[in-house]
C-alpha cells in the first residue's frame, strides 16, 4: 500500500479513516503539531514514529531523526520545545551495541536541541517483525504569547523562504539503502530547528506559516499550505536551492527534488514588510545560513502551487502521489 509516502494517499487515510474514528477540534487543523491550552499555558504537542532504513546513514541516524523530527514539528508552531518522550520497539536479535548507539544519538540530539527526554518505553517484537529499531517520540513545548503560526495564515504577498538546500536527506538515505554511487556523497541535513525559529521570532512574532518539508518534500508542504489558506503559491524554479549532487541523483532516478524529503529545513511564509529582516536573522543563524527566497504567495490560482520555469512557463506542482507515475503518452 502506498499510504506512507506523505502524499495524496496518506492525506486520504487521515481524512477517511482517522478523522471519522476519533477526530476532534484539535485534529481538524491537520498541522504537524496540536496547539492546546492547558492551565492557562499555550502548548504545542506532537508525536511521530520513525521507521527509517538504514538506522545509520551519512549525516545522522534514526536517533537524530526521532529527536529532531518531533522538535521541528513543535518548532513549526513557534513553540519552544521542552520535553520529549521516547519509545523503542526492538526486533529480537538486534545487537545491543546498535541499540546503545541509537540511544547515544538520542541523548546527543536532545542536548543539542535543548530538550529533555522525560519519559520512555521499550518493547521487543519477534525477529522478522521489525527492522531492528523503531522509535516513537512525542514532545511538548510552550508557544510564546502573540505567536500564531498556522498554514491557514498564509496571505497573498507573503514572501516564501527556505532555510537551506533541499533534497539532501531523502537522497542520502536512498543512496546508502539502495547502494547507489552518485560520485559525490550526499549527507542528511537532519537538524533541530527550534533555535532558528526563536531567532526568527525575535525579529517579529508576525510570521504566518512555518513548515518542515519532510515526507513529500517541499511540494507536499506548499500544497498543504496553499490548500489550507486558499492562496496560490508561486515558486521560482531557479531560486530553489538544490545541491548539484542531489540534482544529479534526482535527474538520474527520474525524481523531482521538490518531492524529496528533508529533515533539517524549514519553509517560512513571511509578511513582505518583515521579509528582509527575517531573511537576515535566518542567515545569521548556523541552521539558516543557506536561507533563500524561493517564491511568493499570490491571490491568483487559489490552492494551486506552480513553479515558474526558466523559460517563462508555469508548471503546476501537484501533491505527490505514492509514486511519480509517467504522464508522457
Amino acid at each position: 500500500m502506498g499510504h506512507g509516502g506523505g502524499g495524496a494517499l496518506s492525506a486520504e487515510l487521515v481524512r477517511h479513516l482517522f478523522l471519522p474514528a476519533y477526530g476532534g477540534e484539535q485534529l481538524e487543523g491537520l498541522g504537524d503539531s496540536a496547539q492546546l491550552t492547558l492551565g492557562g499555558a499555550r502548548l504545542a504537542f506532537s508525536t511521530d514514529s520513525y521507521v527509517v532504513r538504514p538506522l545509520f546513514f551519512p549525516g545522522g541516524s534514526i536517533g537524530d531523526l526521532a529527536v529532531n523530527g518531533t522538535v521541528n514539528d513543535l518548532a513549526m508552531s513557534g513553540a519552544v520545545p521542552a520535553y520529549l518522550s521516547c519509545a523503542f520497539v526492538l526486533e529480537e536479535g538486534t545487537e545491543l551495541a546498535t541499540v546503545g548507539a541509537v540511544a547515544q544519538a538520542v541523548g546527543a540530539a536532545a542536548r543539542a536541541a535543548g530538550v529533555t527526554v522525560a519519559t520512555g518505553d521499550t518493547k521487543v517484537v519477534d525477529a522478522g517483525h521489525g527492522d531492528g529499531v523503531y522509535l516513537t517520540t512525542a514532545g511538548i513545548g510552550l508557544i510564546p504569547d502573540g505567536v500564531d503560526i498556522r498554514p491557514q495564515r498564509a496571505r497573498p504577498g507573503d514572501v516564501i523562504m527556505v532555510s537551506g538546500p533541499i533534497g539532501q536527506h531523502g537522497i542520502a538515505i536512498m543512496s546508502v539503502r539502495e547502494g547507489l554511487e552518485f560520485g559525490a556523497e550526499v549527507t542528511s541535513d537532519t537538524a533541530a530547528l527550534g533555535s532558528l525559529v526563536q531567532a526568527m521570532l525575535a525579529v517579529t512574532p508576525e510570521l504566518h506559516v512555518l513548515r518542515d518539508p519532510t515526507r513529500g518534500g517541499l511540494a507536499a508542504s506548499l500544497n498543504e499550505i496553499a490548500a489550507a489558506s486558499g492562496t496560490g503559491v508561486v515558486l521560482e524554479d531557479r531560486a530553489v536551492p538544490v545541491p548539484e549532487a542531489v540534482a544529479n541523483a534526482c535527474a538520474f532516478l527520474g525524481l523531482d527534488p521538490l518531492y524529496v524529503a528533508n529533515e533539517g529545513r524549514l519553509v517560512a511564509f513571511v509578511p513582505r514588510e518583515h521579509a528582509e529582516a527575517v531573511l537576515a536573522a535566518m542567515r545569521a543563524h548556523p541552521d539558516g545560513r543557506g536561507t533563500v527566497i524561493v517564491g511568493e504567495c499570490v491571490a491568483d490560482h487559489p490552492g494551486v502551487v506552480v513553479a515558474r520555469t526558466g523559460l517563462g512557463g508555469t508548471r503546476i506542482v501537484d501533491l505527490p502521489l505514492g509514486e511519480q507515475l509517467p504522464r508522457i503518452c
Partner: protein, 769 residues
C-alpha cells in the same frame, strides 16, 4: 406524369440544423427558391435555419432535395425537419433578420481564402486589391472569430468594425458573395494590419512590404494569424532558422514550412494526389511529406534528421501577400512557420501578451486589431499510402466540425488526456472536439483549456450532465473534472479503452458487437496500476477485457526513461536476459558508471513502474539499433526508427513469442531483442533492423487478432494509439489484417493519439455511467 392529379400549393416549414450559419446558406436558399419560383422566407434562429416555403408539391419536394445536394461549400447539413402548414398565399421569397436565442446550430471551422477572393486580392481594379482581410461567405475565419450564437456580426470579434456603406450593401444583398459574411471588411472599414518593431510602425501595404524585406534579410517576425501568433522566418536563411531554434529553446524538433504553392511544396517533399488534396483543401493543415529535397530551398536546420517535412500553403490573405503578388520585389521564399510560444506553452492570441511574451523572440510584429475568440493551432495531417488521410493534430480547419455519432448520448463533457489535450462535448448523435490545447501540466495551458471549454459550450449549447476523465490519478485533466463537476458524476475511463472507443465511434459502430482493439501508445494508466501501452482489448463501449498485452518491463525513471531511450534498450535487454554487450550502441551510449547506476536502479526497482508500452519498445529498438539514444522531442526515437525502416530494402522480420499470462496473452519481445542484437552485432545496419522490427510488430498483431477471432468470432480490428501515427507500421499492419479477412478500423476523423482520446471517453462514459 400525365396521370398525376393537378397540384395545389403546399406549404412546408423546414428546420435545418448543422453547419448552416455563416456559410452563405440563406442566400443559397433564397437563390434556390427564386430559381424554382417558390414563395416564402428563410431565417436564422436558435433552432437552426428555418425555411417557410410555399408552392406546388413537386417543386417543393425538388427544393428539399436540392437543399442538400447543392448546399454551399462550407455548409454541412445534419438534419432537416419538415412540418406542413396551411398555404398562406405568400408571394416572393425574403430573408428575415436573425433571431437571438440559445444556439443549437454550429459554426464552421476556419477556411482558407477562396479562389474568388484571391483573384480580387491580386486585381488592381478591385476595391479590395491587396486588402489583408479579404474574405467572403465561402472563406475566412469562423470558429476563431465567433463569440456566441446565433452567428451574426455582433457575435463575432468583428463587432468592433462597423461596415462602411459599400460593405454594408454587399452584406445586405442576397445576390452578393458577401451576403451576411460576418468577417467581411475592406480598406475603409476593416481591421488594420500593422508592422511594429525597432521603434517603427507602418500600416497596410507598406507594413507588408517592410515585413517581406525584413524576412528576406533574416529577421524573425511574429505574425498574427487566424488562431494565434506565429513566428516566421525565411526557411532558406540558415542563421535565421538557427536563431529561431535558439530563441524558442526548441532543440531538434522539426519546424513546419509554408510554401507559396503546390509546385514549390512538391520540390520539398513527395506530393501525390492525396497530398495535393490535403495541401489545397479548405482546412489548409500542415501536411507531412516524405522529404525529397535534402538541401536547396530549406536550411538544414529546418528539420534535421526528420524523414518528413511539414508543409502548408497560405491560408490567409496576409500569408499570400507575404509571398508577394505578381510585380512585387522578390520576397523571403519558403517560410518557417511555427506557433509563437515557448515549447509546452499555449498559443499566444492576445496582442498585449504577444508583445510581452514574444519580446526577445521576435524582431518585429505583423499584427492587426481583429481579436481572436479562441486559440487554434495549425492542424497536422499526412496521407497514407492508400490516400486516406491520417490526422495527427486536429485543430484549425477541423475544429469544431461535428462528428456524427452512432448512438444517442446524453450531454457529456470528456476532458481528454493530459498531453496533446483536446476536449469533447457530445449530445444526441453529435460530438464536437475542441482544437489542440496542449500540456495541462502548465497553468497557462489549463487556462486555455477552460477558455476552450466555455467557448465550445457556448457554440454547441451542450450543457453536460456527466463528465468523463482518464483514470490516471495524477492527470491534471481528471483533477479539473473533479473540481468542476459539482453534483454531476465523473466517469473515469481507462486510457486504452477510450482509444478503442474513439476508433469505433468515428467508424459508426453502435457497440452492439465487440471489436478487437489494438491500442499501442506510450503511456496510459492501467487497471492494475501499471503503465499500459501495448494492449489488445476486446471492447465495446460498455466495457473491455484485456485479451493480450506486451510483457511488462520496468520503466527506469518514469518520464526520464521516455526522454532517454537508451534506458529502455538496457531495461529491455535485461528483461530478455541479454547482456549489455559493449559493442551495442545502446550500451556505448553511456559511460560504465551510469550503466552501473541504471543496473542498480533496475535491480532495486527504484522509480521503476512496470510497463507494457509499445512506444517504449520502439524507443528501445531505436537505441539498440544505434538510431536514437536521447529524445529531444516527443517520439523522436520512434520517428527516426521509422525513417530508417523506410530506407530499407525489404528484409524479412523478427518474431515475438506468445504465451499465456495472468491477464491475457503475453507478447514477449525477448526473441525480437535477441535477433535485433545479433543483427546489430553482425553489422546489418539500422535500416534493416528497423524494417525487421516493424514487420515483427505488424506480424504479431495479426497473430493475436487471429487468435482473438478464433476464440470470439470477432472479425473487426481497431488500430489506435499514438504508435499508429507511424505510417509504415499503420500501413503494414492494416495490409496484413485486411489480407486475412479482417475489417480494419483506422482513424480518419480524429488523431490515433491522445488528441482523439476525449471522443472515446465521451462514448464510454455515456454508456457506462
Amino acid at each position: 406524369d400525365p396521370a398525376a392529379p393537378p397540384q395545389g400549393p403546399v406549404r412546408r416549414v423546414l428546420t435545418v440544423t448543422g453547419v448552416v450559419q455563416g456559410v452563405g446558406f440563406r442566400p443559397f436558399v433564397h437563390a434556390l427558391a427564386s430559381r424554382l419560383g417558390l414563395a416564402g422566407e428563410v431565417a436564422n434562429t436558435s433552432a437552426g435555419v428555418v425555411i417557410d416555403v410555399e408552392g406546388p408539391d413537386r417543386t417543393v419536394a425538388e427544393f428539399v432535395r436540392l437543399l442538400r445536394s447543392e448546399a454551399p461549400p462550407l455548409a454541412e447539413i445534419a438534419t432537416v425537419r419538415c412540418a406542413s402548414a396551411p398555404p398562406a398565399g405568400t408571394r416572393g421569397f425574403t430573408i428575415r433578420p436573425s433571431q437571438p436565442g440559445a444556439g443549437r446550430t454550429m459554426v464552421p471551422p476556419d477556411a482558407a481564402t477562396c479562389a474568388a477572393c484571391l483573384a480580387e486580392l491580386a486585381d488592381p481594379t478591385d476595391r479590395r486589391h491587396r486588402h489583408p482581410f479579404i474574405s467572403c461567405t465561402h472563406c475566412g475565419p469562423r470558429f476563431t472569430v465567433t463569440t456566441a450564437l446565433p452567428y451574426d456580426r455582433p457575435a463575432t470579434t468583428m463587432a468592433g468594425f462597423p461596415l462602411c456603406r459599400e460593405c454594408e450593401r454587399e452584406y445586405r444583398d442576397p445576390a452578393d458573395r458577401r451576403f451576411h459574411a460576418q468577417p467581411v471588411a475592406c480598406w475603409a472599414c476593416g481591421p488594420v494590419l500593422r508592422l511594429t518593431g525597432d521603434g517603427t510602425s507602418t500600416e497596410g501595404s507598406p507594413a507588408l512590404a517592410t515585413a517581406r524585406r525584413m524576412l528576406a534579410a533574416g529577421a524573425i517576425v511574429a505574425v498574427k494569424g487566424v488562431g494565434g501568433y506565429h513566428l516566421v522566418c525565411a526557411a532558406a536563411h540558415r542563421e535565421a532558422v538557427r536563431e529561431l531554434r535558439r530563441r524558442k529553446a526548441r532543440g531538434d524538433k522539426p519546424f513546419a514550412v509554408m510554401a507559396p504553392d503546390v509546385a514549390t511544396a512538391a520540390r520539398l517533399g513527395r506530393v501525390g494526389p492525396a497530398e495535393e488534396a490535403l495541401l489545397t483543401g479548405r482546412a489548409r493543415p500542415i501536411v507531412l511529406l516524405r522529404r525529397t529535397d535534402p538541401g536547396g530551398a530549406l536550411a538544414p536546420e529546418v528539420c534535421p534528421g526528420s524523414p518528413d517535412v511539414g508543409v502548408l500553403l497560405p491560408y490567409t490573405p496576409v500569408h499570400r501577400l507575404l509571398f508577394g503578388l505578381p510585380g512585387d520585389p522578390p520576397g523571403p521564399g519558403v517560410l518557417v512557420v511555427t506557433s509563437a510560444n515557448r515549447s509546452g506553452e499555449p498559443l499566444v492570441t492576445d496582442d498585449g501578451e504577444a508583445f510581452e511574451r514574444l519580446a526577445g523572440l521576435a524582431d518585429a510584429w505583423l499584427w492587426h486589431d481583429r481579436p481572436i475568440a479562441v486559440p487554434c493551432d495549425d492542424s497536422v495531417v499526412r496521407a497514407r499510402p492508400d490516400g486516406e488521410p491520417m490526422i495527427l493534430r486536429r485543430s484549425r480547419g477541423f475544429a469544431p466540425a461535428r462528428i456524427e455519432l452512432p448512438l444517442d448520448l446524453r450531454p457529456v463533457l470528456a476532458v481528454g488526456g493530459d498531453l496533446k489535450n483536446a476536449l469533447c462535448l457530445a449530445e444526441g448523435r453529435s460530438a464536437w472536439l475542441s482544437g489542440h490545447i496542449g500540456d495541462l501540466g502548465e497553468l497557462s495551458t489549463q487556462r486555455s483549456f477552460e477558455r476552450a471549454e466555455r467557448h465550445l459550450r457556448t457554440l454547441t449549447g451542450v450543457e453536460p450532465q456527466l463528465l468523463a476523465a482518464d483514470r490516471h490519478p495524477g492527470y491534471a485533466s481528471a483533477r479539473w473534472a473533479r473540481r468542476n463537476a459539482g453534483e454531476r458524476p465523473v466517469a473515469r475511463v481507462q486510457h486504452h479503452h477510450a482509444h478503442v472507443a474513439a476508433a469505433m465511434a468515428e467508424h459508426g459502430l453502435d457497440g452492439s458487437a465487440p471489436v478487437i482493439g489494438v491500442a499501442f501508445d506510450g503511456t496510459g494508466y492501467g487497471e492494475d496500476g501499471a503503465v499500459w501501452g501495448g494492449e489488445v482489448l476486446l471492447a465495446d463501449y460498455a466495457g473491455h477485457r484485456r485479451f493480450a498485452h506486451l510483457a511488462y518491463v520496468p520503466l527506469p525513471g518514469g518520464d526520464t526513461a521516455v526522454r532517454e531511450p537508451w534506458r529502455m534498450a538496457l531495461a529491455h535487454l535485461r528483461a530478455a536476459g541479454l547482456p549489455w554487450a559493449e559493442h551495442l550502441p545502446c550500451t556505448a551510449a553511456r559511460p560504465p558508471e551510469l550503466r552501473r547506476l541504471l543496473a542498480r536502479q533496475l535491480e532495486r526497482g527504484l522509480n521503476c513502474p512496470p510497463t507494457s508500452s509499445m512506444g517504449r519498445l520502439f524507443d528501445a529498438v531505436s537505441s539498440l539499433a544505434g538510431v536514437c539514444h536521447d529524445a529531444g522531442f516527443e517520439a523522436q526515437a520512434a520517428i527516426e526508427l521509422e525513417a530508417a525502416a523506410v530506407r530499407a530494402v525489404d528484409a524479412g522480420g523478427y518474431a515475438f513469442a506468445l504465451r499465456p499470462g495472468p491477464d491475457g496473452l503475453l507478447l514477449d519481445p525477448a526473441p525480437v531483442l535477441r535477433a535485433c542484437a545479433e543483427d546489430v552485432r553482425a553489422g546489418a545496419g539500422a535500416p534493416v533492423v528497423a524494417a525487421r522490427f516493424h514487420r515483427a510488430v505488424a506480424a504479431v498483431v495479426l497473430t493475436v487478432c487471429r487468435e482473438a477471432r478464433r476464440r470470439t468470432r470477432t472479425g473487426t480490428v481497431a488500430l489506435t494509439g499514438g504508435v499508429f501515427t507511424n505510417a509504415l507500421l499503420d500501413h503494414w499492419t492494416a495490409e496484413l489484417l485486411a489480407g486475412d479477412g479482417f475489417t480494419v478500423l483506422r482513424h480518419r476523423a480524429v488523431p490515433p493519439g491522445d488528441g482523439g482520446l476525449a471522443l472515446g471517453q465521451a462514448l464510454v462514459a455515456a454508456r457506462t455511467a
